[in-house]
Symmetry: C2
């Protein structure tokens, strides 16, 4: 076997391993979402994947390691999604805030179960794991607060307490994850545009800016 082939095989193996981990995460997350972490047995997760319990242990050291991986997902995705938006200094603060809300809600719809599991099951993590994730979460809030302050400086927003307002906006988006059910009375677009409008109200954004952006979100 050539070195190139060897490398190719090694990559494929890693890809397969990553894929298996992803599938374990997905099924575990689904069961944790529906039944709770403690009420979900590793046997039940294995059964959904048509494998056995020891198989799971070849990919995750133990049950909390699996929970940790699930809990990280939502916040890491959100941080990755907002980074380029926040960096785009060609756009106004209002524009960036609107795009941020849309991007984060998209993550929330796509990774809803992961996010809800984190919100509910955080206390089952090791202290080290929990702290790491909480730091990511703080970073998110901090970045959002910074955007709000920029908008305030630019006279686009009227905000009394940027930290508290950022926290509330984060909460408004997380709250969507906690109640949204696909097939409900509101479409995703309705929720995105309505949330965006409320976020704009909360930061005291100019009405003209708002309506154009909300309409854009409806597409």
């Amino acid at each position: 076997m050539t070195a190139a082939a060897n490398l190719a095989q090694a990559n494929l193996k890693h890809e397969v391993a990553d894929f298996k981990r992803r599938r374990i995460r997905e099924e575990a997350s689904h069961l944790f979402f529906e039944q709770g972490y403690e009420s979900t047995t590793l046997d039940a997760i294995a059964q959904r994947l048509d494998v056995t319990k020891p198989f799971l242990y070849t990919h995750y050291a133990n049950k909390t390691e699996l929970l940790y991986d699930i809990c990280r997902t939502g916040i890491l995705q959100s941080l990755a999604a907002i980074e380029p938006i926040l960096m785009d200094r060609t756009d106004s603060a209002v524009g960036r805030l609107g795009r941020l809300v849309e991007a984060v809600l998209t993550i929330i719809f796509d990774f809803q179960e992961f996010i809800v599991v984190y919100e509910r099951e955080e206390k089952n993590l090791d202290e080290v794991q929990a702290r790491e994730i909480r730091e990511h979460r703080s970073l998110f809030d901090h970045k959002l607060a910074t955007l709000l302050e920029q908008g305030q400086l630019a006279k686009e927003f009227e905000i009394v307490d940027a930290v508290l307002t950022a926290n509330t906006i984060g909460g408004m988006m997380t709250w969507v994850a906690l109640w949204y059910r696909s097939g409900g009375k509101r479409t995703r677009y309705q929720i995105v545009s309505h949330t965006m409008a409320m976020v704009f109200s909360v930061v005291g954004a100019n009405r003209q800016d708002q309506s154009a952006l909300v309409a854009a979100a409806r597409r």
Copy 2:
């Protein structure tokens, strides 16, 4: 023993029994809040009260009955607190909404652990118990939406979707329960007045009405 004395004794007994149930609820709620429902043993609850496990069974049929009683608390308190406010037709919609926010946040501070436990552990309830509580919760949202519609008719508010807005306002208040820690950087009054201001923004209330009420909340 006279009939009157008999009755008095019976009442005292009930009061004592109620008190015992309340203390069990409080300690259980505290442990569920800190460790989660499944990770909390009945022995641990008993130990905090300096009694034994079978003692708990003389007051609660089983563990989920106890959880059910805890989960009911927050929503029942909230419903009771908002009822007189909503009924007060002498007050404007803005005024009633402000008082509602203050009243509900007071409940949220006083019964924080009960509320958080409900949010996290609802899935551990029987289907029957869960449905009953969810109906109370819907009733709350419905009453709030009705108030918003009244304010809209009175031209006090500008609202696109009263149901979604009521849901969001409920979420903003519940979110406080999920992150607030006494001894944090914000006082309760700061949180109440800031939340009230954001709620007023979200319903598009007139700025004049707002500031007077927010100031009143600061007392």
